[in-house]
Amino acid sequence: MAGAGGGGCPAGGNDLQWCFSQVKGAVDEDVAEADVISTVEFSHSGDLLATGDKGGRVVIFQREQENKSRPHSRGEYNVYSTFQSHEPEFDYLKSLEIEEKINKIRWLPQQSAAHFLLSTNDDLRINLWHLEITDRSFNIVDIKPANMEELTEVITAAEFHPHQCNVLVYSSSKGTIRLCDMRSSALCDRHSKFFEEPEDPSSRSFFSEIISSVSDVKFSHSGRYMMTRDYLSVKVWDLNMESRPVETHQVHEYLRSKLCSLYENDCIFDKFECCWNGSDSAIMTGSYNNFFRMFDRTTWRDVTLEASRENSKPRASLKPRRVCAGGKRKKDEVSVDSLDFSKKILHTAWHPAENTIAVAATNNLYIFQDKAN
């Protein structure tokens, strides 16, 4: 169902009124592991939306043409194609099972001259592939130590710069980000820039290292900034300043006192992603209880929204949610202890040109639009 029309609106995350648009996926309470969505990505025009799941399937949704009789409503996303992309493999020699889970989908730029693909499924290496040469790749980053017992960090995410095709960044489990220029050396073991924020000694705990591990890194569309996601926060970095981020947004700081429990139930290892809106004025990331958060970088306001079937009436506006960290719980607030940690939003995507978002909640894909669209 498309969202209703409305008046004009400014860009940014918070002046908008988000409305439910569509939801895809089964309603069943019992979710099959294979159906869990593991990646969401809009194409460069925003007309196509792809999801991958743990079962190795890819579903591509295509936006319908706008309906002339309802000019204010945007087209719906309907299934365009579904295919099995990966099958489970078993390496008998190493007794290693290779998961068929789709980790990442990246759309190829249609008009770009670049024919290269960056693959970073490996914890220790980044390889560069030429699309027409499939039997070998060029290794550009290798952090595997000679003695594996000396391993202290792994690569957690990597991305090409949107405009400078020779520049890439990769993040590590230690919370650092390295920017590499492939022109300066063949093997980019030496970084051009090294981004790290000094640790705050007052917040040190057993889990400091885990929560500083970067789970996602994304360049802004402008290419001037990049954003990193760690367990509790999102940080925006200016590529010209390596010493600390220019912005830090707390996603769910109320979890800091619960880290031991979250370690025990493995939630602390959840890898949340983050994304920019088209104009880089807002950023979005997921949380627990099917909550997701948006931060407006210009007004410095933030909002918590929920992807749930209860809020899935056509054109229903999303009501901001609040989490009560302690003390007296107000009406409509959700207390930290009643958060459902099995309902996590790890993957979100923002349409590159307009205020339409896709939010993956386990096995369901929610599409929300700004009322003003």
Partner: protein
Amino acid sequence: MEFKLEAHRIVSISLGKIYNSRVQRGGIKLHKNLLVSLVLRSARQVYLSDPCPGLYLTGHPGAPALPQQPGDSVAGPPAGWGEPPPPAACAAWPEPEPQLELPAVPEVPRAGDAEPAATVTGAGDTLLSGEAEAAEAAWRRVEGPRETAVGGAGVPAGGSDVFPQGPGAARRPCGWPPGDEDKMSASPRVDGCRAPRPAGPESPVPPPVCPRKRGAEGVGGGPSDCPAPGSTPLKKPRRNSEEQPVGAAATAAQEEEEMETGNVASLISIFGSSFSGLLRKSPGGGREEAEGEESGPEAAEPGQNYCDKPVLRDINPWSTAIVAF
């Protein structure tokens, strides 16, 4: 004190996770295991650096309570271990935990140890010495079957570089329930072969046939609840010939032992050393200990003091467990 308890709990949980990662589909996840190792290191540092440990968390039992071994007692754990608690600090024990009885402990002779056992000097010190020796003896028995355990348990998944000691297919040692990482740390169950047995001083690891059969129930509420030692269910220990401290204190010591070493010891015996680069400051320290422990078992029966390294005598099971890991 509470940091030690939390460290204890975290170490248990962490070891359970690492174990489970070996039997789960897809094999070992390098990133997650690396992070778990980091947590283990943090917990270890807290554990070793706290100068006033609780009753069952001994630092240097050798120093105050066994005056006949001044020569053997080294300054602390091997170099690269972080600051050891100073012996002076350990000599004065803090108040015993209220739930714990503290009767005098009779001498606990070390099997095979030529030196005379500790003299009973006072309740605190005595418990310390009896505890330490009993714990140490229990730990040594764990070390005995370690070779067997190590040989069989490895899952050479993608991390085969990382856990080099495991050839062959994934094999879950009997006694460990499938999957379920969360429950693992709480109270692993023994199924199959043997009757459950706590890992107390009176109930050492059985002969090397099935070293992983550690007493699950003895752990009681499990580290996740961190029950007071006195509240763990009391298991009737299976008697092995050598070390059998009698009396309530021994029972209390045994309960504490269960809480510490029950599942942890067997997990450690399975894992051997991995990511040891993270867990030791000096490259040589951890490795020496591992070798020291491994060279012992072949030569001795369970219960005997076959470990030559004087340091290991003085380190309580938790530290030794961490060393081994």
